[in-house]
Symmetry: C2
């Protein structure tokens, strides 16, 4: 540690090693020293949960000519990124993931309310979390998003961490918390429709129960978003999935009123299948981790409606220009991963809805 120590900033700015002043998320490299600034917390890491878009990209990059995934190659890629950058941030997707571990040390000025020994999940992205891996990820085969990991990570003054609940298996809680921003924001937007006109674009401000389409409704963020939309008062739920198998799984748990099988990258097919299922949607929630779904999401949405993009594979220009290009008057939201109370809300949805829980457990098994 250097003798002259810079003061800490709640954003973690003091850990940025880049020349320019950038936030940790935008930084190329972070300072991973284990010693804490007064408002920091150090976590003994137990498991990384890689972002789905990031993991998929790494898998594709390390797929052999015969189609088999080179798990060791995926593992080495993650190790190389973390060693070079001091954080896990996929250079292609820009995304990271989250982690769980045990609180090891709490700085005297930390505002997070954590205590040594608590098992927690970090709810800020790995893309801004100083991280050191000490076991070479030896327990991980590189074939799933959840990587057992020994090492440590640092939380800042303005980070977020949630204590893992006692009544749910760890892997289940982690999988829920990983995507908990999506159901919270979906519920908020649905409530805006139910409470009154959210766009301000119409002359009357009457309330109405919206039609909600969730693209990727069978996935983690998608199934929670369906449950959240129902709880918030949506009148009709359309789940869009890519395969018959996912359709059967989603149909069996009753989360959606209609389940349709469509390749969301085909904008015309998406538009037409959502329309046939009771659309266009007042609110379209994009939860699939593949690029190229922006145009279809816009076309599946009613004039004056709202599209919420949660996929980290979303392209900003594709969304902005795609809507303009078809003269679509839709409100497009960047899915903010933080909504106050999001983790507790998502865990409660899972506890209350056996269908959501079954989908999550099937994915984890």
């Amino acid at each position: 540690m250097s003798t002259v120590r810079q003061r800490s900033d709640a954003t973690g700015l003091h850990r940025v090693l880049d020349e320019a002043t950038v936030l940790p998320q935008a930084a190329r490299r972070l300072d991973t020293r284990p010693e804490l600034w007064p408002d920091e917390v150090r976590i003994r890491v137990e498991r990384l949960n890689l972002d789905a878009a990031s993991f998929r990209q790494l898998e594709q990059e390390h797929t052999d000519a015969d189609g088999s995934v080179d798990g060791a190659g995926v593992r080495d890629a993650v190790l190389a990124i973390v060693a070079e950058r001091g954080k896990m941030q996929n250079p292609v997707t820009g995304s990271g993931g989250m982690l769980i571990g045990t609180v090891e040390e709490v700085g005297p000025e930390s505002p997070l309310g954590l205590e040594v020994g608590q098992r927690v999940a970090t709810l800020v992205s790995l893309t801004l979390t100083p991280l050191v891996i000490t076991d070479g990820l030896a327990e991980w085969d590189g074939r799933s998003e959840q990587a057992p990991c020994a090492g440590y990570a640092i939380l800042f003054g303005r980070s977020i961490a949630a204590v893992l609940p006692d009544d749910l298996p760890t892997a289940l809680s982690l999988a829920v918390m990983d995507v908990c921003g999506a159901p919270a924001l979906t519920a908020r937007v649905v409530k805006q429709y139910v409470d009154g006109d959210p766009t301000g674009s119409r002359t009357s401000s009457r309330s109405r129960s919206p039609v909600v389409a969730v693209i990727g409704g069978g996935g983690k963020s998608g199934s929670l978003s369906l449950a959240a939309a129902r709880a918030a008062g949506a009148c009709r739920l359309i789940g869009v999935v890519p395969t018959d198998r996912e359709a059967a799984a989603l149909g069996a748990v009753g989360l959606a009123d209609e389940v349709v099988v469509t390749d969301a990258r085909d904008p015309i097919a998406l538009r037409d299948s959502v329309a046939a299922a009771g659309g266009p949607a007042d609110i379209t929630v994009v939860c699939v981790d593949v690029p190229g779904c922006e145009g279809g999401a816009v076309l599946a949405t009613a004039d004056g409606g709202t599209v919420i993009f949660f996929s980290m594979a979303t392209s900003f220009p594709a969304a902005a220009l795609g809507a303009e290009g078809v003269a679509a008057d839709v409100t497009m939201l960047v899915g903010n991963g933080y909504v106050p109370g999001h983790a507790a809300f998502a865990l409660d949805l899972l506890r209350a809805d056996p269908g959501v829980r079954r989908l999550f457990e099937e994915r984890l098994s």
Copy 2:
């Protein structure tokens, strides 16, 4: 032309030459045949107006070691893109621009209401507009965003074009229409605050006049957004600009209550300077065409506030993870370039506000 002709789709899908079904904006290559489908319009092109982010990228790519811009290199790059893709879409920024020209032929089923001989500006992006350049851009030196151009372009059933007004110089109208989505959406969001709570996140739904910060307030979209926010009822306007020269220009025309000079890529400086000028902002409008402003925009915005991203240099993951990373409960909007009536609204702002007009004329001179 092939003898068996596919039916046209209002989105322009019938002009996409890619294997996959994608919209023209997402396509690699478009069919540029001059013959029209029944709902199309052909424009004789007179001038291209390249998107600022795209032009800046091309300029940087073609800057010599001594810092001088190779205009011929920029021109050749644009010609190569259009020849290869059948549209002007910068492969790095993903963005395009717009064009003006004269209506040459109108298909019998075109819904756009255009007539042969009208001078129009296209309000859909060049990234989805079939375009053929026939003069090698011989009249353009590659040193400004506005490129004189001979050739033709195609509009689809769902495209948008505006007839150029008689009372304003062409270059001025084009510059205004190029960014007309920004003031229209800014005005809509400000009105939502004035009319009542737009986020639905607070218990009371009281109306209030918002503080608005415009990052890049001295530019085209920025100055129009300031004027739009004032007209819609903002209580305090903060213009953020990168240089003293821009500050003097913006200060002289009285569009903002406070003008601050800050590098918007420095998130801490942006947060602190907006706070010192009467912030944090309820609404932050990002109009600068440089990457890396997402974090600062989020930090400059009050909890429960709204960030509108208009810059094509915006990174979706940087915005989503940046807000999450600092636990910021802000609504983030993808700046949709289309809002009904946007061109007429922006032209009226320019006509009504001598300050806006002066800034535009200084930029064009």
